[in-house]
Amino acid sequence: MKNTDQFCGLCEKTVRASSRREFLEKAGLGFGMLGAGYLLARDADAATWTARASNPFAPKPPDFPAQAKNVIFLFMHGGPSHVDTFDPKPLLAKLNGKTPPPSFGKVDFQFTKMEKAPLLASSRTFRKYGQSGIEISDLFRQTAQFADDMAVIRSCYHDGFTHVLGQNWMNTGWARVGRPSMGSWVVYGLGNESENLPAFMVMLDGGIKAGAPAYGSGFLPAMYQGTVLRTDGAPILNVNRPEDIGAGEQRRMLDLLNWYNERHLETRQEDSQLAARMNSYELAFKMEMSVPELANLSQETVATRKLYGLDETETAEFGTQCLMARRMVERGVRFVQLYSGGNKGGSVGWDGHNQCDQNHTVMARRVDRPIAGLLADLKARGLLESTLVLWGGDFGRTPFTNGVEGGGQGQAGRDHNPYGFSVWMAGGGIKGGKVIGATDEIGLRAVEDKVHMHDLHATMLTLLGLDYRKLTYHFQGRDFRLTDVGGQNNLAPRLTQG
């Protein structure tokens, strides 16, 4: 057994800022103030305290100057194959049909016994793009036009070899349920800049395997959870008034409600929760306007709609999500997450166990143009500088075929591979045209400059101006971080240099 003392930096005793706590209570802000632990650890000024007490979403200054203000996270649900997209492996073509040489070692997969699984060459054509010459496959030939804006990280890894574990790792930095998602942490740390929209919004094209916990708030207060924005029906739950209540009538109802609440408050002035509740009705009323306005794409020009692929059946759905993402960022939404490949009518998403190439051709066709459109549009509007775009999925896929001898699955499929895979980032202060890390020669495992999910999350938080070691929440007797005890390979300093 190892003595673990030396590497559990998380458990350093936190200094209890008793004087500050006392100040808070004197100021009447109460013990129940949310996120006090974090703010106590940060040297926030009195104005921040007061703002936070009346509105826990009040924008908060970052720990240090931020490169990025917003995040758009494009999540390819099911797990896109890195060796067919952003990580070319010429050796695979040479070894096609042969079992992996023992020198690559042995790891466990969900369905596949790798020593019996023949390697599978990619059917894709890789080309060098931009001045930087990053090699990207023809599945993403339009997105690849932005190679010089991108940092492709080819050495990501975690150890969750099934979807839910992978999705939890990517979203919450932990395999099991119960931890807050990235978006929740970011809003907890930075607050909301929008006055009438939620700070963390999620768009789905069907159900996702990890379910609500993938964008949930875990042990953080529920107010930090992601809000699902829909393109069918009410864009946000309950944002549409009941059919028989018009805006004028509801206004009269709210005025009456306010009148009663004010009487109630008269003898309870000290209770900031009651005032906050009254405010929440005004905000709700504003959201009834602002959310449909956000979701209404009719003001967008034909050219813009075309840019995102709204004119084509295959790209219209994800294109709509991408266009909404830009509109959300414009309106100050802090963290936007878009899913491609959710379950609607039995779709498997990016989960190419069977005929991986065919699957990815269909899936990439749906997202390539919209993503390129999003990057182009953000750039044209000067939003890319302050918006971090992150692309990734549950994990990558195996360089060999899926499930021979394993689950009896089909030919030319690829199994899940969490041991080495690619993500890319663009915008948000990143100086593009970079490739970080590498997998081994067949793309089985990350080997150079390895980037764990904790490192990825540390990178994101740093770009947002948050110190990932200080962003903590006290729960179950200790201070939790998004990055747990990891994050040492924080890429932010390298990514932001020319």
Partner: protein, 824 residues
Amino acid sequence: MRTLLLLVVCAPAFAAPVYEAARAILENRCAVCHGQAQTSGLDVRQRETILKGGKRGPALIPGNADESLLYKAVVHVGDLQMPPAKPLTAEEIEVIRAWINEGADWEGPAIGSKWWAFQAPVKPPVPEVSDTAWSRSPVDAFIWAKLGEKSLKPAPAADRRTFIRRASLDLHGLPPDPADVNNFVNDHAPDAYERLIDRLLASPRYGERWGRHWLDVVRYADTGGFETDMYYRNAWRYRDYVIQSFNADKPYDTFVKEQIAGDELWPDDLELAGGYEIPPTKLKHLEARIGTGMYTIGPTYHEAALNGAQLHYEWLSDAVDTTGEAFLGLTLACSRCHDHKFDPLTQRDYHRMMAIFAGSEEREIPVISKMDLFGFKSGYPANLRVEEYKEAIERIEKRSRDRATREIEARFSPEAVQAYEVALKDRTPKQMELAALLEQALTVAGLRENASGKMFVPQYTAQEKDDRERLIYELGKASLEARPTFPSATVLAHADVVPDVYMTSRGDFRPAGPKVSPGFPRVLGGVHDLEESANGPFVPERRRALALWLTSPDHPLTARVIVNRVWYWHFGRGIVGTPNDFGRQGEAPTHPELLDWLARNFVESGWSMKKLHRMIMLSNTYRMSSQSDESNFRIDPSNQYLWRMNRQRMDAEALRDSVLDVAGVLNLQMGGRPVIPPLTTEEKAVMWAPNQWPVSLDPMEHNRRSVYLYVKRSFPFPMFAIFDEPDTAVSCPRRDVTTVAPQALALLNSEFMERQARNLAARVQKTYPDDRDAWVRGAWQLALSRDPSPQEKEKALSFLDAASTKLDKLCLVLLNTSEFLSID
């Protein structure tokens, strides 16, 4: 045989500790050079300096003698051989080895044991109170004394209307009935308050409310979470067990014993044979076993079953974490990966606790008598008919598949078909190539098993169609008679083999250290391992030992932790502000003497929850108004010292139940399978597999109390998620209270609220036909337990006067008011 075993467990003979012997050896045989002299930088006079080591690095790895330099040196493995002159004796070496492997403690029982929460509570004297009129109970005396110390003045008593509303929402999670409010306000008998509290405690609504509190603590859910979100078909029996236990005022020590070791404590009653009726004693013990269901409802993901050892380790972790937080009020979870940084809990303690659960596993047991069980078996012909009809229907479907397959194959060469029929792994490259296109065509048509493509849509001939429809009808009829499964409960039982537990590294499930014996945390007196017979036919009854230890009257934590929870649920704040953490990272008690007095008194009163509620709720402290006071507020703005009652917001369940109740449609049916209410299209759209939400078909069911609603781990019920329902991943000690716009949207615009506002309007209109004044008064009484003021009524009536505005809109406004939502 049984008696013998019980004796062994009840009177454990403990092995002697080794730290003293080990320290003596170090002092006598090593410190000459490695003491003050610190030869080669090593000082053996302190544990820390041995850990730090000398020039050669750390001399000690607690828990692992074989890798420790110190041990290697004395046993002469490797180049370093110590002591140089005279080697240690075999006996001394064995002491060193055992000492290191047991964690190399320096002193007993453990460092840090002086922490207040680890000392048995001593009943303090009740403070003298100058104002005897104010002090109604010992609780008041403690509170009064502290208020005096802090120069705080207690708030005056709340009026009776406020009090009955507070007490009803507190004990039932429902507002009081207007008639009851009226009776109480006009009840001038000296025991009016006593009778009110007793009446509320006697109602089954109490168990539903307080059982729900406990379900938070034990991370209750009906499913396992993750992608497939397995359904725990008997979780509800545990939920009902909890509700019944509260309603029956089951002594808390019994409640603890049943949940941890109901099977081991009453092992003679596991056999349900002997008559048509199960005798009452056996029913009682069956109920006790259902209590162990607590350990079968944690989060589990489907694919964890791919690795048995990992699955078992995760289950053990969940058991230890939940036991620690729920019963001990300690965050043991920290010490899964390493020794606790703040509390004297070691990784070894954690694994000793794991070993207590290691020999247990989940099992489904019948909850009917053997006679009834045999009755199920005798009804087998209907079960067989069901099987026959299913198979016949499948044969027709297969015929259609076969036809479609042959049609596709006909479009390919015989060689391709032949190649396709060769098993995938045996195909030559040529055959691979030949089979590929056919395989693809079959996949697209949905005709290959396990391949993801379109679903195959069978085409039937007219005859097949007729046959199939007839068979489906017959299947339905047979299903009505068939009894495929008997009623069962999911409980803990003994595994056939008791797996050893080993120390692990950083929380990974793979063994990475020596074997660990079962035991309790050392700092709490569990210095020694549980004594167990090494041979013989006995199954070790480790949970039984744990249950008895936890419920011993002098246990430092068990009673304190539960009385603190009860206090928190009554006042919205615990005496210890962190109900799941009595360790050093938790908050210090605001009233330590009161906590100890309550804990002691609780045990002396037979661990009775209802007596505890009575004690608290009949105090003047509980009766205080929630109104603020300027001078008090300046001294203690967060009301730590309880100079007034805390104002609380209704939680998710109380809110939904109260709305249904006020609307007059709450269905008070108790118990049974979880109720699955309908969802809107928007709500359902984000679910991974919408077929995992089979809505209860009886609409009456949809208005059942919230505690009976389906708790699906991967999909929290939307209205509850907005109102801070706890995450079911781990034990929840206290709920967040947030105030955000989505709550306002849900209360203003949701179909649910709209419907209930209409129900409330219809209810008052039916009671008082054609009397608008009475409508307003009736609605106020139902929702707010009071009459409207003249201005409020006037305002309401002028709102109703406006064109097209109906009473239901006013009712909706009423159900949105701060006053309705908050508890003064």
